[in-house]
Amino acid sequence: MSERPSILHADLDAFYASVEQLLRPELRGRPIAVGGGVVLAASYEAKRFGVSSGMAGGRARELCPDLTFVKGRFSDYQRLGDEVMDILGAYTPAMQRISIDEAFLDVGGSRRLFGEPDAIARAIRARVRDEVGLPISIGAATTQHLAKIASQVAKPDGLVVVPPGGEREFLDPLPVGLVWGVGPATASRLAADGITTIGQLARSSRADLAPLVGGQVGSKLHALANNDDPRQVRSAGRGRSVGAQSALGRVIPTDQVLGEVLGHLADRVAARLRAARRAGRTVTVRVRFRGLRSVTRSLTLDEPVASTLTLREVAEQLARAALADHPDEREVTLLAISVSNLDDQPEVQLELPVARDDPHRQSSPTGAARLALDRSVDSVRERFGRTSVGYATPALSKRALVPDEFRELAEREVRPGQSAGRGEERDG
């Protein structure tokens, strides 16, 4: 842990809504929501009325009759998000982008170049405002968790520096809901036991927490409340995994469902790998059942995968194995695919058709053909849009409720499970 508050969490304020207001001046100062049937993002003006993301459109209109709905402009979000990240990256190589609109930075090594962390935070905020035109809030602290809380406290459009030694004073009065991993359900369970502030959480014993939220989650929250967060900002802009997930409500995992959903996820993950000229050897699938119980299965292949069809086949195989091991679980609520063990997409030595043709190897005739097909699909999509062409099963499915572009922006990387290739967890 650093002795100075050298970790920054930079988070764009109401990002999608802010972009809309930036690009359409007539929307500025007005309550707007991105989306339609569902609110995908709300401007601060709308949030004041209680509108929040994930809310049904009708409910949002009830709360805020003047609300203007706008359709998302996803390519603009990506472009502007990238521009902001470029600015952040100019201050330190130790930057870890965790979603389209937020990133952690460790600026401990940048003092000689750019000054103290609070000066760097001010410079970043000014540049993002001047050069991109968007408001960004920054928290500065000695740990990632604390920096993230600080940035939430700083919103909208602010800067909060937590001085070393002042952590307890800062954290204690804040609501537990700001702790990473405490959602509304957990917060209400804690509140039932009289725990509403982070200070109370920190002073409670792990034994008291276990019956409320489970032993593992309890330990994690307790540690975070005590500012015990050993995570380092993982430097280098390149992620260690690429993943996508799809929440399904509650569905019975028939072959049809697995084919559609995993086909769809595989398409997104593989396309992103190819766009980044990467490929990975470890495929991880997460299946979540009712009650947030989830299992992961992973498989490390002989050759890296970046082909949509191959990824889909491997993912289906893993998902079936996970389901077979849990015959009591009748419904799944989420499926996720991630590919890790990433490397640059190798330039593949092609093979003569002399041996068993293993489509999962990139060098085999069928494997090479799959990748060639994917590249053709990629280039057609680049010109004519991502829905212009696709694999039949997912493309003809009626399952997609949220525009893919939005999902892609919002996607977080899912991590492979335990190293043994199987893992079971309870989402916190």
Partner: protein, 364 residues
Amino acid sequence: MRIVATKKDLAAALASAGRIASAKATMPVLSMVRLTAAETGVELAATDMELSVRLPVEASVEESGSVLLPRVASDIVRSLADGPVTIEHRAGEGVATLSGGNSSFTLNCLQAADYPELPDVSSAESEVPAEEFLATAERVGKAASRDEMRPVLTGVLLRLAGTEAVMVATDSYRLAVDRAAVPDQGESVTEAIVPARALAELARLADGQGALRVALADNQASFALGDTRLTSRLIDGQFPDYNQLIPDEFDHDLVLDRAELLGVLGRIGILAQRGTPVRLAFETGTLTVSATQSELGEGSESIPVAFEGEAFEVGFNVEFLRAGVESLDGEEVRLGLISPLRPGLLRGEGDDYRYLLMPIRLNT
């Protein structure tokens, strides 16, 4: 048993036999070399159950008998002073003595009776000119795979028919085909997949000797040069149909200067290591060879070539490409190409040798 041989003869024979004896045998006797002394002469034998060799050693036999010597005997004899070397073993004893000059070694040995019987191939032998046959085998055999997971590809297809022996090898990335003249086989057509290693060992055993006697049986092949005989288990399986793999026509058939091309590949290839390809970019009248290694940098060199048509770029593994060019005879190289994802074909002047090479798919 007691024999006396010159250090030179004995060292050479022990080295040849020692290469066949298995270094990592599960059965201890397979790591040994059998020495047999009879009134007719001295013979060394070794086997790893796949390959077996028997070779004569020039030596005087003072007492006949046989013994199994450890492979280290080869290293010992090689390091002795020039002059006579004596090997002695008393029947039934667990040691043999080996002496030369003022040196003397007592080596643990095993009994010859415990050695496996070496295969005997009784099929009819064809006599072929050794030099051309072995040169062809060596040239083709380099394209064979070393991947034991694909046994068929670790072999060389040997097809005896009419007046020629056709040999084919492929590791799936490249394929080499060549022919050697043989005495007329009449109506008989014989095909076998011979381990590439057997042919390579055979080439090392041969010493410019005149005739090679080849016998192919169901599961064994035998190659004899004088009294030296190598037998090899044949590889079971279906060899790829090489005629189908070699395209009939190429869109481009380019003639390049062999020495110039080798020079360019040698220079540019320095930056095309560890799986990164060397790129061959063709445009009207020019071939530009280039390579980029992200940590090191990039290099390129252009040479004139009679290329016409739409420009294109193809990538190859530089080692495979260079091995192909090196394996050709003559001053000119003909390179046949179709597209960046189809195989390229290298040919020399005036012979039937063909070297087919799959490209590396370029990312851009």
